[in-house]
């Protein structure tokens, strides 16, 4: 996967004539009809929906199961379980069939109190991110899970960095910046690039509107002298960022580190369908940009991608 988020965003700009008499250079837009944040947010949503609808990218993990415990938490980054199997202590593995509670209530009325070797899983009446297996296992085992993982979203909504007068041990120079979100799963999302901004010496940079995402364990700001090649970063835990009113300050050299590229979570050849889905959302939104005819066309093209993915994955 090598297609950058900005490639899709630049295509959006061309398709909605937001480039003017210049090459598309997201996040620069000709009019106020769309904001860069709207485009990124829409792209994020479409990407999640595409992965969910197609099950194109799947991830495997295991959940340790205990005797007498039917309910288990899904991984935090799971947006859809695709396949579950039950592995007993002897190593035998059987697929679990998805059922709902109506089927269990009417087909196996004693299921809430029964224990045995699980043969099904359900989620109909459970809280989000929870699944259960039936019958309740009567021995320890393992649930092997194949699931659709949350796509790597882009961080949007961060106000541009503002320069203030104040001490800074960084050498005075023009710097470029990228804000990156860190969760328990690692570095999961990043913003567009900011800059160049002249800071250092007696000037420091303040980032405002750092997102208040509760799954973030820390935020990083990567910075460097060359665009798309930030080579050092400053990291603060979410608690510290929150205490500072969700702002971060760059006033000292950072740790060495290279910003990961902001790429789509779908294989390159499928990226046009993310573009069409994004355009469908943008052109469906209320206001001057509302264009139901072209939005419908874009939706059809997005659906073409979903249908095609389902056909080729069917084998």
């Amino acid at each position: 996967m090598t297609v950058l988020n900005t490639e899709v965003a630049n295509n959006v700009i061309y398709r909605v004539l937001e480039n003017g008499d210049a090459n598309a250079a997201f996040p620069t837009l000709l009019t106020t009809m769309f904001t860069p944040t709207e485009i990124l947010d829409s792209m994020n949503r479409v990407q999640q929906a595409f992965l969910l609808a197609t099950g194109m990218i799947v991830t495997r993990t295991t959940i340790a199961a205990n005797a007498g415990t039917p309910k288990y938490q899904m991984p935090a980054d799971s947006i859809r379980p695709r396949r579950l199997t039950w592995q007993d202590a002897g190593g035998s593995i059987k697929v679990l069939t998805q059922v709902d509670t109506w089927e269990l209530d009417n087909g196996k009325p004693d299921w809430p109190s029964d224990a045995g070797v699980p043969f099904s899983w359900w989620e109909t009446t459970l809280a989000q991110q929870q699944i259960a297996i039936a019958p309740t296992p009567n021995q320890i085992g393992q649930i092997n899970l194949l699931y659709v993982q949350l796509a790597q979203p882009s961080v949007s909504g961060i106000a541009a960095v503002v320069v203030f007068a104040g001490p800074n041990t960084l050498p005075l120079a023009n710097y470029f910046f990228v804000v990156v979100k860190e969760t328990a799963l690692g570095l999961v999302a990043q913003s567009l690039e900011f800059g160049p901004l002249l800071i250092g010496g007696t000037r420091y940079g303040l980032f405002s509107n750092i997102p208040q995402d509760t799954d973030a364990v820390a935020w990083r700001i990567y910075f460097g002298l060359t665009a798309v090649a930030e080579n050092q970063y400053f990291r603060q835990t979410r608690a510290v960022v929150a205490a500072a009113g969700f702002t971060m300050i760059i006033n000292a050299p950072g740790l060495a580190g290279i910003v990961p590229p902001p790429i789509l979570s779908v294989p390159d050849d499928w990226s046009p369908y993310i573009l069409w889905g994004t355009l469908a959302e943008l052109l469906s939104s209320d206001g001057p940009s509302f264009d139901p005819v072209r939005a419908q066309y874009c939706k059809q093209r997005y659906n073409e991608g979903v249908e095609l993915a389902n056909l080729v994955l069917m084998g």
């Binding site: 996967m1 490639e7 598309a24 249908e307 084998g315």
Partner: protein, 230 residues
């Protein structure tokens, strides 16, 4: 051996010929992106660019799931030690061979089938007995990244198809009748893709998007007689 017939500059030139050499409304950067999208969509629909990748390390004893090598759009076939694997699905394995994930080949025997689990993962059954056999997958690889140097691995016969699609999506920003009329190009493009990929013709949605109707050719009843010329 790849084709050496068309360059990006030539393709761009052909495109401009179709849009009256209008380099103001369609900038070069935009045209390059349109052409890149065209080859990607063409590849998704037809599986035009295919390749073979040997999985590093080969099979692993007792392992059923393997990652699809990066750069592969989707998998078509697989072989172990130059023996082809049958094509299956996880559903078929789950319900036709219920304990398949716990089964390994016996000594001297090889895995028999493969089943895609997504575009990034596939399974083989039974697992390798001792591991170390060569594992080769063949499938649709990513469409070429269009650059101004070198040739695009594309024959002259496919160029028109790519250009038709490119012209159609270029009309998108014009909207109105220009775009409406260009829908015919999309239908033709999809039909041509359907001829290269029979799987598309099995989908009623694709047939509809191609403009092919599933309605009965003979009506159940004739229309009522009417007075006047017929």
């Amino acid at each position: 051996m790849p084709y050496a017939q068309v360059t990006l500059v030539q393709l761009r030139g052909y495109f401009y010929e179709q849009v009256d050499q209008n380099t103001t409304f369609w900038r070069t950067d935009e045209v390059d992106r349109i052409l890149q999208e065209s080859v990607r969509v063409f590849n998704c629909l037809t599986g035009f660019w295919r390749g073979q990748i040997t999985i590093a390390g080969g099979t692993v004893a007792g392992q059923h799931f393997y990652n699809v090598p990066s750069g592969m759009t989707y998998l078509l076939r697989a072989e172990v030690n130059q023996q082809p694997l049958g094509s299956s699905s996880l559903w078929d394995l789950d319900y036709g061979q219920p304990n398949w994930e716990a089964e390994s080949a016996t000594s001297g025997n090889l895995p028999q089938v493969f089943a895609p689990a997504g575009v990034n993962l596939f399974a083989i059954w039974p697992a390798s007995f001792a591991g170390g056999e060569s594992l080769v997958v063949e499938g649709v690889v990513s469409a070429p990244a269009l650059t101004t140097s070198g040739f695009i691995d594309l024959g002259q016969d496919e160029v028109e198809l790519i250009l038709d699609y490119a012209e159609h999506i270029a009309q998108f920003k014009e909207g109105g009748q220009e775009f409406e009329v260009s829908q015919l190009l999309l239908k033709e493009f999809l039909k041509e893709c359907g001829e290269r990929n029979a799987m598309l013709m099995q989908s009623s949605k694709f047939r509809t998007w191609m403009g092919l109707t599933d309605q009965k050719k003979r009506p159940m009843r004739l229309p009522d007689e009417r007075v006047g010329a017929r």
